[in-house]
């Protein structure tokens, strides 16, 4: 019977290694190790042996069974891996086909510039304030030191609704509303739509401005310069420089035009900056004492600075847009180009 054991062992290991699938392997297990398996039957027939041989025989059969079981397990692992490898190979996809499209939303470039600017100034403690777009002549002009027939009204071709009501031509009236309703310290930023009767590649009848106003005791023009320095460096990059040039606005005195070093050529001179190395992006100045007096402040006690910028101009410079009217056409091919800018939408 011992030789029978060896015989079964040999044929079982042979069958195990010959099995070509997990299923076949299971048949091998049943054939040898099942309830009616050859090895099982052999063990059951052990009673026919002389008693002194039984322990030895039993040990031998158990050893063979252990050996066979581990061979089956090894073969099973091997077969499973082979089968999976075949299956994965068969499942290969054409990875060059495009994915299921997810529509990518975009924030309008004007909103992006406003959001970025708001974020920079909110981090400096500014409050964002809005004002009406349909405005009284008084707020748009008179309170800003622009009486009727003032030459400065020529610079702004204003849309009128009635003799006294107009579409604001600048965000500066928000300054007046804020100062009329509050006492210093004031630190506000007012973005919004403004309107002028003009339309060509650099002028749109509607565009956006951002106005800033700081009024407190001891506010100086050096504070204005420092504030705008921080702004342009955060907006256009840490190497951006600013240059103040004397200018004229009816509601600031002294007034200054603010140039930034060209964001295209870093000041070396290019087509965008007309080879000057500078781009004019802001108007600014110290709030005119006549304006402070009009809202009931004492110009001897408080002083302030104000600045304003055109959002479209910055967007056009930043993205190289050559016609302002493209910004308001809403051509989806235009809008979708502005998706790569990260964060800061609100």
């Amino acid at each position: 019977m011992l030789s029978k054991v060896e015989e079964i062992k040999a044929s079982a290991l042979e069958a195990c290694s010959q099995a070509e699938s997990v299923k076949e392997l299971e048949q091998v297990r049943v054939r040898f190790l099942g309830k009616k398996g050859e090895l099982t039957l052999l063990l059951r027939g052990m009673g026919q042996l002389p008693a002194e041989q039984r322990p030895h025989f039993g040990k031998l059969v158990n050893e063979v069974r252990d050996e066979l079981e581990s061979a089956l397990a090894a073969r099973e692992t091997q077969l499973f891996q082979e089968e999976e490898t075949r299956r994965l190979a068969a499942e290969a996809l054409d990875i060059t086909l495009p994915g299921r499209p997810m529509m990518r939303g975009t924030v309008h470039p004007v909103s992006q510039i406003i959001a970025e600017t708001k974020s920079i100034f909110m981090n400096m403690g500014y409050e964002i304030v809005e004002g009406p777009e349909v405005e009284w002549d008084y707020y748009n002009f008179e309170a800003l030191n622009i009486p009727p027939d003032h030459p400065a009204r020529d610079m702004q071709d204003t849309f009128f609704i009635t003799e006294d009501l107009l579409l604001r031509s600048q965000t500066s009236p928000v300054q007046i509303h804020v100062m009329e309703n509050r006492k210093p310290p004031i630190r506000i930023l007012a973005p919004g739509k403004v309107y002028r009767a003009d339309s060509d590649i650099t002028h749109s009848p509607m565009f956006h401005q951002i106005e800033g106003l700081v009024v407190d005791r001891g506010i100086t023009m050096a504070d204005l310069k420092g504030t705008l320095q921080v702004f342009v460096q955060r907006m256009f990059g840490p190497d951006t420089k600013i240059r103040l040039r004397p200018s004229y606005f009816p509601f600031t005195e002294p007034s200054a035009e603010v140039d930034v070093s060209c964001i295209m050529c870093a000041g070396a001179g290019c087509r965008v900056c007309k080879d000057t190395g500078w781009l004019e992006i802001l108007g600014s100045g110290m709030v005119d004492p006549r304006v402070l007096a009009k809202v009931g402040y004492d110009p001897q006690e408080v002083s302030g600075f104000a600045f304003g910028m055109g959002v479209e101009r910055i967007a056009m410079l930043k993205y190289g847009i050559n016609d302002i009217r493209l910004l308001f056409e809403n051509d989806v091919r235009f809008l979708k180009q502005f998706s790569s800018q990260g964060g800061r939408l609100c």
Partner: protein, 794 residues
């Protein structure tokens, strides 16, 4: 203002070249927008002398000229100009010259005769647009001299942008003053001397000023035996450099002196003035006059006129009259140098639609003390260049107040406004260089007298500006304001806008921006009969003439534009105001913040992996559900005429409509030329700000297994499924966690007029649920649906 660099050098020493000067002026507040050479490169263009003119043998209209070009030799040149004559000094371009128009000069055979150059017109040399004939030069120029140096074309023109508060800089002397302040130099005034006749002016004429408010000062001089001729070349070139056209010596001198001093002058042909006297008055009702440009002007009683004893002869400060202008026959001239109210000139110029170099100066406000100086300067030139005899003295009707305000300036104020301390000596030096008179009362107080030409300076702050612009804004330090102000932040409305923008961009929509004004028939195009839109008085076009009452027209226009540009889809949103007012407009309209959105065309870009489907109502509803997750919002069938009557939802909050969405009515879509179906929404999101602010209340996620059951029923085809869902929510009791519609189907085998709706109900408790209790609930649900909706289990 265009000003010649050489002309400036007449009055002030300039240590800088034109480019550097332009930079210095710009940094001091006189922005120079351009620096251009007066003439283009005119190499190989010389002064020539026409020795002989013969007929061209082959062509009657051409002439064969022999031209002496000095050291350059003599040339035979074919010339077609009618005005070429023997004995003329001319400008000759020789072989190798390239003219500004691009013409390269080379020996050329013209109708069988070799021409070795070209006799040029001013237009061909790029000096003016005058191409009536060749440019005839003065005979004192030496043949062979390079033209540019010989006639003074080696000059540069600065285009100076003068701010509205600086009318004193609308003159060469005014700009020279600024330069002197920057260099520390002195301004040299031009020659003012002349000989007078013994007869005083008062014996021949008089001036009556009836309206001294509109005319604070009128200064007149009288001249006779004036020789009308061309003005000298140097004056013509300076006028051209300034953008003015030479006319004759008298007119040119008045223009020249205006450019030089900033004071407009006017010359009347004295013999054309009735009774030889002037009356300065406003126009009488119905009066008319023909201005120099030949236009007949209707005058109104607000307009100031310079009149003779009978009629208006000149629109004061704006433009002269045709019948008293200086002509070749003029012998006696009355020269006006006056000051007019800026306001009147502005209004008159606007009312007549007429502006001139003169009016553009007067309307900014001119120094009334400058009339005599300008008059004397013009008289000097008229005597020297037109041999005029000048009657003694001026008539000077002067009611102008002497304008030399005194301002007490504390150097401490300079520091308070600038944030930097500038020493009093520096302050004094700068102000004096600008011709302010400064007396140091003490180190803490300076008494500053403002010169009459600086009417813009009234307050300490104005002086601070003068100081800092000359001192140099670039020297200003950079500091930050003391940090004792607000904590910043923004309104709930702006925060909500940002939130909506993020959600919609995340949902794949593109943000649009439309004009706040549109077509006045926008309501009608939307089939709406809302109150009319507020109209602009002066729109730039009919299409942009009325303030919007809705964001939908702008968004639908955008869809229309994209459709017309062969785009297959558009998913847009806009955040902005609408303007709700009543007519007639008496107060500011309410500006209501709205969100609009529009879906049109393909749901997504064409793709192999998905069916090519168009947007439908439920795409829009899904977005609206994303935006409005709050149970407080009621969704009911809407009745907005702009939308499809069976495909629209009105959104209510506590009974108030906060928005509407659905498919745009096909007739409205046609009005906007939109092909196919288009879906749109408009939301008054100011009304839901408080919902955005709600803080979510945490609930423990259940740890016990949920039980899911399906239920499919057959109901009438027009039965709103939402009502079944609502009913199931109630019937399911507390254990029912969620009801989902997972299938709606009509067609075989469902009978006609019926549909099947399938729901998935999920039950959840804080314990393990038993099948039996769920069975009881499900039976109740089915019974309920059967009873209320006649539903049959499928």
């Amino acid at each position: 203002m265009l000003v010649s660099y050489k002309w400036l050098q007449d009055y002030v020493d300039i240590p800088w070249g034109p480019e550097e000067l332009a930079h210095r002026l710009t940094m001091a507040g006189l922005e120079v927008e351009g620096v251009t050479p007066l003439a283009a490169n005119l190499d190989r263009v010389y002064v020539g002398f026409v020795q002989e003119v013969q007929k061209h043998p082959q062509a009657d209209s051409l002439k064969l000229c022999s031209v002496d070009v000095g050291a350059q030799g003599s040339y035979s040149i074919v010339c077609g100009a009618p005005n070429v004559q023997e004995g003329q000094t001319v400008a000759v371009a020789l072989a190798g010259a390239t003219l500004p128009g691009g013409l390269v000069i080379q020996p050329t055979e013209i109708r069988g005769v070799l021409s070795n150059g070209m006799i040029c017109s001013q237009a061909e040399l790029g000096i003016s647009d005058d191409h009536a004939g060749i440019w005839v030069l003065p005979n004192d120029l030496a043949p062979g001299a390079p033209l540019v140096e010989a006639v003074g074309l080696d000059d540069v023109v600065l285009d100076v942008s003068v701010y509205a508060n600086r009318p004193d800089c609308m003159s060469v002397i005014g700009i020279a003053r600024e330069i002197a302040a920057l260099t520390g130099g002195e301004v040299r005034l031009p020659a003012l001397d002349y000989q007078e006749l013994d007869v005083p002016i008062g014996e021949h004429t008089s001036v009556t000023v009836e309206d001294s408010e509109r005319c604070p000062r009128y200064t007149a001089a009288l001249l006779q035996d004036v020789h009308i001729a061309e003005s000298p070349l140097w004056m013509q070139l300076r006028l051209r450099a300034a953008g003015m056209r030479p006319i004759n010596n008298v007119v040119d001198i008045t223009n020249y002196v205006m450019l030089e001093t900033g004071q407009p002058l006017h010359a009347f042909d004295f013999d054309k003035l009735a009774e030889g006297r002037l009356v300065i008055r406003t126009a009488r009702p119905g009066e008319e006059m023909v201005t120099l440009d030949g236009e007949r002007r209707q005058l109104t009683p607000e307009m100031l006129m310079i009149c003779d004893a009978q009629d208006p002869k000149c629109v004061a400060g704006v433009m002269g009259g045709l019948d008293s202008e200086v002509t070749d026959e003029t012998n006696r001239i009355l020269l006006e140098s006056a000051n007019f109210s800026a306001l009147n000139i502005r209004r008159t110029s606007r009312a007549l639609g007429l502006s001139s170099e003169s009016s553009s100066r007067f309307e900014k406000g001119i120094d009334a003390s400058g009339t005599l100086l300008a008059s004397r300067r013009a008289l000097h030139l008229l005597q020297n260049l037109a041999q005029a005899q000048i009657f003694a003295g001026h008539i000077d009707v002067n009611s102008s107040a002497k304008q030399e305000p005194v301002i007490d300036l504390e150097p401490a104020e300079v520091e308070r406004l600038l944030g930097v301390s500038i020493p009093p000596e520096t302050i004094c030096r700068i102000l004096r260089s600008l011709e302010f008179d400064v007396v140091e009362l003490s180190p803490e107080l300076l008494r500053v007298t403002v010169p009459s030409h600086r009417g813009d300076v009234e307050l300490q702050a104005d002086l601070v500006e003068e100081i800092v612009r000359i001192w140099g804004l670039e020297n200003l330090p950079s500091t930050l304001p003391p940090d004792r102000s607000s904590s910043g932040g923004q309104s709930q409305l702006l925060t909500a806008e940002g939130h909506l923008r993020e959600l919609l961009v995340g949902a794949g929509l593109q943000e649009a921006l439309s004009y706040s004004f549109g077509r006045p028939d926008s309501n009608e195009r939307l089939l709406r009969t809302e109150p009319p839109m507020i109209a602009l008085q002066n729109p730039i076009s009919e299409d942009l003439s009325a303030l919007r009452r809705s964001l939908l027209p702008g968004l639908l226009e955008a869809v229309s534009l994209n459709a017309s540009r062969q785009q297959a889809r558009a998913a847009l949103f806009e955040l902005g105001a609408v303007y709700l007012g009543e007519l007639p407009v008496e107060k500011q309209p309410r500006e209501e913040a709205r969100l609009g959105l529009v879906l049109w065309g393909r749901r997504s870009t064409l793709n192999w992996a998905a069916a090519d489907e168009q947007y439908d109502f439920y795409d829009l509803k899904g977005i609206m559900e994303l935006l409005l997750p709050w149970p407080e919002v009621e969704w009911i069938k809407g009745s907005d005429p702009a939308f499809h009557p069976g495909r629209q939802v009105s959104l209510l909050l506590q009974g108030r409509e906060i928005g509407v969405f659905g498919e745009i009515h096909p007739a409205a879509a046609r009005n906007f030329r939109i092909p196919g179906r288009v879906y749109a929404a408009e939301l008054r999101f100011e009304e839901i700000l408080h919902l955005f602010k709600q803080t979510p209340v945490f609930q423990v996620p259940p740890r016990f297994p949920a039980v899911e059951r399906d239920l499919a029923v057959v109901v009438d085809a027009d039965q709103p499924v939402g009502e079944l869902v609502d009913a199931l929510r109630k019937l399911g009791g507390e254990l029912l966690d969620e009801v989902t519609v997972f299938d709606v189907y009509a067609g075989k085998p469902i009978p006609d007029g019926k549909k099947s709706a399938a729901f998935s109900l999920r039950f959840q408790g804080h314990r393990t649920l038993k099948d039996e209790e769920i069975n009881v609930i499900m039976d109740g649900c089915l019974a309920g649906l059967r009873e209320r909706f006649g539903a049959e289990i499928r």
